[in-house]
């Protein structure tokens, strides 16, 4: 769409069950609906969550249809874990799109047992760079601890997402959605959001 102001986005959140991807996608969706957009978010629930890979498909536009993202059409991958970021980017990232990676690794059971190898982080980032136009990284877990609670890593990731300014609404709108949708530890979560935001802003030098 050849408009100067962004009017839609397709993105995916990739992570491991239990990392708080559901809440993160809800907050993005809430902000989008408040700004008058139509939204579809498809998520992984239930048994498939037990330690498995989870991907939230998020589509924001004037009119949206499929709740599933067609292959290689996501403009952005918000990766809560490096291996899952690469797995999801391989399937869904529009080549040349953006990837945000939380560098904190979570080993699959197969790796923990010594049955399979976890690829080196640098190799995975290299692979991501070969298909993405932009790859930014942060240690969201450490930043969340700095903000006051390691559980807030998902909110750090939202701050990072806001910093790339690819959403069709303002970073403040997403920050406000955090305030509205996370009832507990509001200050900690807003700090977490700001830390993610600043870290990525510094990295991209804007």
């Amino acid at each position: 769409m050849a408009t100067s102001k962004k009017e839609e986005i397709t993105l995916a959140i990739a992570g491991v069950g239990g990392q708080g991807t559901l809440l993160a996608s809800q907050i993005i969706g809430h902000a989008a609906v408040k700004q008058g957009f139509s939204v579809r978010i498809s998520e992984t629930f239930g048994m498939s969550q037990r330690g498995g890979p989870v991907v939230s498909h998020i589509r924001i536009a004037k009119n949206v249809y499929s709740p599933l993202i067609p292959l290689m059409t996501a403009e952005l991958i918000l990766g809560f874990e490096p291996l899952e970021a690469l797995r999801a980017a391989t399937r869904f990232l529009a080549r040349g799109g953006s990837v945000i990676v939380n560098t904190r690794t979570i080993y699959p059971v197969e790796v923990n047992r010594g049955d399979m190898k976890y690829p080196p982080l640098e190799k995975m980032l290299e692979a991501l760079k070969s298909i993405a136009g932009e790859v930014v990284t942060l240690d969201a877990t450490s930043l969340a601890i700095k903000a006051g609670n390691p559980i807030s890593a998902n909110i750090v990731m939202l701050g990072a997402l806001a910093a790339l300014e690819k959403l069709p609404f303002k970073p403040e709108d997403l920050r406000e959605a955090v305030r509205e949708r996370v009832p507990r530890e509001v200050e900690t979560n807003l700090r977490a959001f700001d830390l993610g935001f600043q870290t990525i802003k510094e990295q991209i030098g804007k």
Partner: protein, 634 residues
């Protein structure tokens, strides 16, 4: 989604709702006053949401012990003049079907909807059944909403249609609707509650069957005109397009996506969005069928609409080419997605389209991340104990010298590698049912049924009674984790709490087993692994049915409780001098917190995952693991 949003009387306001939350909101807007359900993915959040606001909304909501009871609860309310709803996963409707197949003859007075959440691909299910077939089987009307907005509206429309024709209405949801969030415009909430108004001159029954069967047919016929006008039906056509797509339910979303992906113009393809798959709105569909030489049918599940269209064309004496699942333009198995629907459309139009090839860049080999039971999960300890007890008692490989019948719950994962626990895994309660059968085959080995307490209350009690009555020598292990864990920790009769948070008498599995006169009943803490192993061995040696209740709170719940109580989780220590790197703990207990350090060739414990249950320390052959605390101290 907050409670406040669900109760807000703000017509026109747009909010983000999960499909299942939208169904719950729809129930409130439709003036549903009695709702019942049994949890099952992907349906559970409907009742979770509704129950959380039921008291404030002045309505009644319950987790029933199974789907049949849930249906009957809702049915009776609708007979008594109150609008009602029951919700369940697709296979739950099988359980409820005995009642549905007569309630359709007997009819209702107030509006009643049955929400069936289907699960094509079986993301969290053991089959891919399409419950639109149940609509045909029971001859009931069926709505198929496509979006969270329509999910909400379908309950209101469904209740109105139901009340008009005096038949329950089936609403078919699926994973990609129940678990999809979207913008939903709220409608008004009703101002007044109804009072029950049971007509005592009528007995609600199927007898005599032919008369009531005819009543069903007349009632269905009475709303045919209304079904034509259901707003989920929509034609997007100007006339003269090359082909027509008939897309049922969520198939519409993918059809629109396919048109976009192939860069087709709007006037290349006409679309009939169908929201009533049964009975078909005949006039609407006939007119569309007559306008196009080629029809592409897009639907998730069975070729349900496709087959009906072929019958309809025969009646109309027309012969358009009808393509879809039966012609191989869409697969018969699995769930449809944008690529599959696009591929079928491209093939029909002769467009060269290949879905992009998914290949990991840099030729990296990405390790799988298979599902696993949680660190500290008591199922892990009990799985281990069963294998050990059989190995020690029968002196052989447990897979060869025993039969273990599995059931439905988190422990269903026991069916996969690396657990490899089960010989059978069929449906709710079938662990005990199948064990009954194995016991009468003459196979002279321990026959073990394994299930959770919620599953036991749901469908495990009749087969246990059967085992005592018919003398089946089976060993039933009920893992009581004090919650319905897999579907998101709903309460059940063993918890002593209701859906609306009220106290209830707590049912204990051992009390029921004793009342059933099971001769061997014991309760063990699975975190005492040796005691559990010895109890299972004793049960194996004792002829006749046995029930062992292994009671330990779900590790995820326990973690939350520990956090609230300020109990710190301290992982046990592995003495690296004593650890020989035998990997026994890792390969036998299969706890995800136990990890392998390739550099030092020793086992280790992931401090972030460990819940401090203390089981690994008990099983290490070298006694190299010690200390630690956490959920094991609750």
């Amino acid at each position: 989604m907050s409670r406040a949003v669900l109760l807000e009387d703000a017509p026109g306001k747009k909010v983000l709702l999960l499909g299942n939350e939208a169904f719950a909101r729809g129930a409130l807007e439709a003036n549903v006053q009695v709702a019942a359900a049994y949890p099952g993915t992907p349906s559970s959040e409907i009742m979770e949401t509704l129950a959380s606001v039921a008291e404030a909304a002045g309505i009644y909501a319950e987790w029933s012990v199974n789907e049949k009871v849930a249906f009957e609860v809702a049915y009776a309310a609708a007979v008594a003049g109150l609008r009602s709803m029951c919700s369940m996963k697709h296979v739950g409707v099988n359980v409820a079907s005995d009642a549905i197949m007569v309630a359709n003859y007997a009819g209702v007075e107030a509006g009643m909807v049955i929400i069936s959440a289907d699960d094509p691909f079986g993301h969290s299910s053991q089959n891919e059944q399409d419950n639109r077939m149940f609509a045909k089987f029971s001859e009931l009307p069926c709505l198929e909403p496509a979006t969270p907005q329509e999910a909400k509206d379908s309950v209101v429309i469904g209740c109105e249609l139901s009340e008009k024709c005096k038949l329950p209405v089936i609403i078919r949801s699926l994973t990609r609707l129940s678990h999809v969030r979207g913008d939903v415009e709220l409608g008004p909430l009703p101002k007044e509650k109804r009072k029950p108004n049971l007509n005592r001159d009528i007995t609600y029954t199927g007898f005599p069957a032919p008369d009531h069967h005819k009543l069903l047919h007349d009632r269905l016929a009475s709303i045919m005109e209304d079904l034509e006008k259901v707003p989920f039906n929509k034609i997007e056509a100007k006339g003269g397009e090359k082909i027509g797509i008939i897309a049922s339910g969520i198939g519409y979303n993918y059809a629109k996506e396919a048109i976009k992906l192939l860069n087709l113009k709007e006037d290349d393809v006409a679309v009939l969005k169908l929201g009533v798959p049964h009975p078909l709105p005949r006039r609407l569909v006939s007119n569309f069928l007559k306008s196009y030489g080629t029809i592409y049918v897009v639907e998730d599940g069975f070729p349900f609409v496709e087959e009906q269209l072929k019958v309809l064309c025969y009646d109309l004496g027309i012969h358009p080419t009808i393509l879809g699942k039966l012609s191989g333009h869409l697969p018969m198995e699995g769930e449809i997605d944008p690529e599959k629907v696009t591929l079928g459309l491209a093939k029909i139009l002769g467009i060269d389209y290949k879905p992009p090839e998914v290949k990991v860049p840099g030729d990296l080999e990405l390790p799988r991340r298979t599902l696993s039971l949680c660190a500290g999960c008591a199922h892990l300890a009990t799985f281990y104990a069963i294998k050990q007890a059989v190995r020690r008692e029968m002196k052989g490989d447990p897979r060869k010298v025993s039969i273990v019948c599995g059931d439905i719950g988190c422990y269903g994962l026991g069916l996969f590698r690396p657990y490899n626990m089960f010989n059978t895994h069929i449906c709710m309660g079938a662990s005990i049912g199948c064990a009954n059968g194995f016991a009468h085959t003459g196979i002279d080995q321990p026959i073990i049924a394994y299930l959770g307490e919620s599953t036991f209350f749901h469908a495990g009690m009749p087969p246990l009674l059967n085992a005592v009555y018919n003398g089946a020598n089976i060993k039933v292990i009920v893992q009581d984790n004090l919650t319905t864990a897999m579907t998101g920790h709903q309460p059940n009769p063993g918890v002593g709490l209701t859906a609306m948070g009220k106290q209830a008498p707590r049912m204990l599995v051992e009390d029921i087993a004793k009342a059933f006169k099971v001769p061997f009943v014991k309760v063990v803490d699975p975190y005492n692994v040796n005691e559990l192993i010895e109890t299972i061995r004793e049960a194996i040696r004792t002829p006749g049915p046995a029930v062992i209740v292994a009671r330990r709170m779900c590790a995820e719940l326990a973690r939350r409780q520990a956090r609230r109580k300020g109990i710190q989780i301290i992982p046990p220590k592995i003495d690296k001098e004593k650890c020989t790197g035998c990997k026994y703990c890792i390969t036998q207990l299969l706890c995800p917190a136990l990890i392998w350090r390739e550099d030092e060739k020793k086992a280790d414990i992931d401090p972030l995952l460990c819940a401090g249950c203390g089981v690994c320390a008990q099983i290490c052959p070298q006694k190299a693991i010690s200390g630690g605390s956490g959920i094991g101290n609750l």
